[in-house]
Symmetry: C2
Subunit: 395 residues, 2 copies
Amino acid sequence: MTTLIQEKVRQALDILKEKDIDLWLIFVRETSVNSDPILPVIYGNETLTRQSALLMHQSGETIAIVGRIDAETSRLVGAYQNVIPCDAGISQYLLSELQRLNPARIAINTSLSNVMADGLSYGMHQLLVKMLVNTPFVDRLCSAEEIISALNGRKTPSEIALIQAAVDETFEIYQQTYNFMQPGQTEKDVSDFMHQQLADRNLLAAWTYEGCPAVNSGPDSPVGHAAPTDIQLERGHLVHFDFGVQKDGYCSDIQRMVYLLRPGESEAPIEVQQGFDLVRQAIEAARVVLHPGVTGLEVDTAARKVITDAGYPEYHYATGHQLGKRAHDGGGILGPQWEVYGDLPNQIIEKDQVYTIELGIALDGYGYIGLEEDVLVTAHGNEYLGEPQTKLVLL
Amino acid sequence: MTTLIQEKVRQALDILKEKDIDLWLIFVRETSVNSDPILPVIYGNETLTRQSALLMHQSGETIAIVGRIDAETSRLVGAYQNVIPCDAGISQYLLSELQRLNPARIAINTSLSNVMADGLSYGMHQLLVKMLVNTPFVDRLCSAEEIISALNGRKTPSEIALIQAAVDETFEIYQQTYNFMQPGQTEKDVSDFMHQQLADRNLLAAWTYEGCPAVNSGPDSPVGHAAPTDIQLERGHLVHFDFGVQKDGYCSDIQRMVYLLRPGESEAPIEVQQGFDLVRQAIEAARVVLHPGVTGLEVDTAARKVITDAGYPEYHYATGHQLGKRAHDGGGILGPQWEVYGDLPNQIIEKDQVYTIELGIALDGYGYIGLEEDVLVTAHGNEYLGEPQTKLVLL
């Protein structure tokens, strides 16, 4: 049986050919303290203690040069044909492999924009250059960004199934939460219930536990990546959720909206309904544009325009990010051309990428209205991973 | 009440004065994907989503320049007097703070040897230099290694108490495990029992769950950072454990030895006893040398000599590492002068650092004998955090 890691390493070898890069060199140390974000994808959750080099060559050859203490684990990963155990240092082994393979281009994990492709620390880059000094290889280094963006973005069928499973669990927990929640409870009470659901289902939170879920009840709740507060749920409040689970190593990330009906109300006030419809409309505007070949910037612009055209201030974040082993799974984003995003909004959207589409507005007197859906990019468009929220949940 | 993070930030400000560094600049982005190892110490477990800069100035001023989405969380950390929320980018705010403070030396997180002090990625370093181009500040950058080594190494009384608590739990779990284990069980059975103990006590494993504990029964078990196997415990086996817990964010890391008596035996065979005594003697040799003012290399040499003088091959790892929020808590190590360790063995040992002392030998026909104790460096020497193992556990 092929493991997910073996599957991704094979995919990486194909991408090396596609991008015409001879060798991908992943250089790490003491990954329990400071890991490389791509390591879980191509090596797994085990740590590498000493300075270690993982090498993938266009020819299909895969090599792990690791400390002796980690050699057995490296073999068990089953994705590296040649495991070379080292004691005092790795430089002689690395140099000898480089001389043998004589690659014209050596990709290393550094990127200005893509955090997933920027796993090489400044100190480790200096060390590598020191090891390669007086060899031709030092001038053959290039960025592995395009390898990592492709590898991380293009989900295999098994990866898509795992993300779908995480999304399914998230929907079930939301349903349980709607059944549980009622006025008088605090945001923390609701968050505690959802945490208990995670425990009962043997799931992890998709991001920092304290802030997953975010629960915002009414107009005074601080929105953002903050933990739920002692603010009470009250009738006439909008309750906003941002929540995701990690199941078998893959994540979901979904926002949902509830309105707590006041006595006598059988539906939400018209301004609440209009606000919700606007957010929903902006999500759809993004979705219509999202397909292979366009940039994330184009998708973002379409959604953002719906909000600003309606007279609301534009939201201070991107319209979407990729989803995978992490809730924020680096690579191209559906975002505006802001300094903070670097080149990420200009990357071309590809088939089999999974994105969130998320945005919101603050509605005076009621609270924040934010929705977030998870979608899979298909050959000619995209599809929702699970039913989108098209109506406010009324409780 | 002062939180641990507030305590460490205050300590950092004192260290800035001691080392005569004006400003410490921690520059990160999307820390849920790629964090800086010092962040848990000075910011906590919450993530920073956007490009963010934490600034600590010798004057005592502390500033967090963060994305708007993280601003509320930054305020709640309670260690940064001025939280500046940003939208499209942070460079204008960072430059304006630098111009106001006009620091002569700006420490950034880069180090050749100390992984805890090397949190700045190569790409982020390039971004920072781009932001500072055409300012005098680009030439004022220096390494924060000495700040981080001091801050991370010198444990506060609260931190020492937390490590002690983690050690105490570890001893209790070992005791339960001795009561549980018996011939016929596999290494995995024993590991499952210890994992259940972690769950029952609401603790985390101190390192990768699958390899914590390591359980090695007999001469055929692969020693290193590998997961326990289906090898069965047999009478006449040495059983070696490497195990640590994380309790309230702080770790222990302790190795223990059991011998499974054969029918008719009331003590271990003489060669087993001698092997154990040799390892024990080498641990004590390290401990006698370990005090403020010496280097880790001196401590390592003392212990290593005991093993090689007895005719055993030298062990392929350092005699000890620091312990704290992580089982391998970067900074100076008790290690030999090997390429792989860079400058770490030459750092001077300081009061209030916590080290492991660990080493071992392979005993033909019986298995691996390894011991590991956790010690606190005191004003003039060191003390064990808990009873060292001076006798083989006989079952």
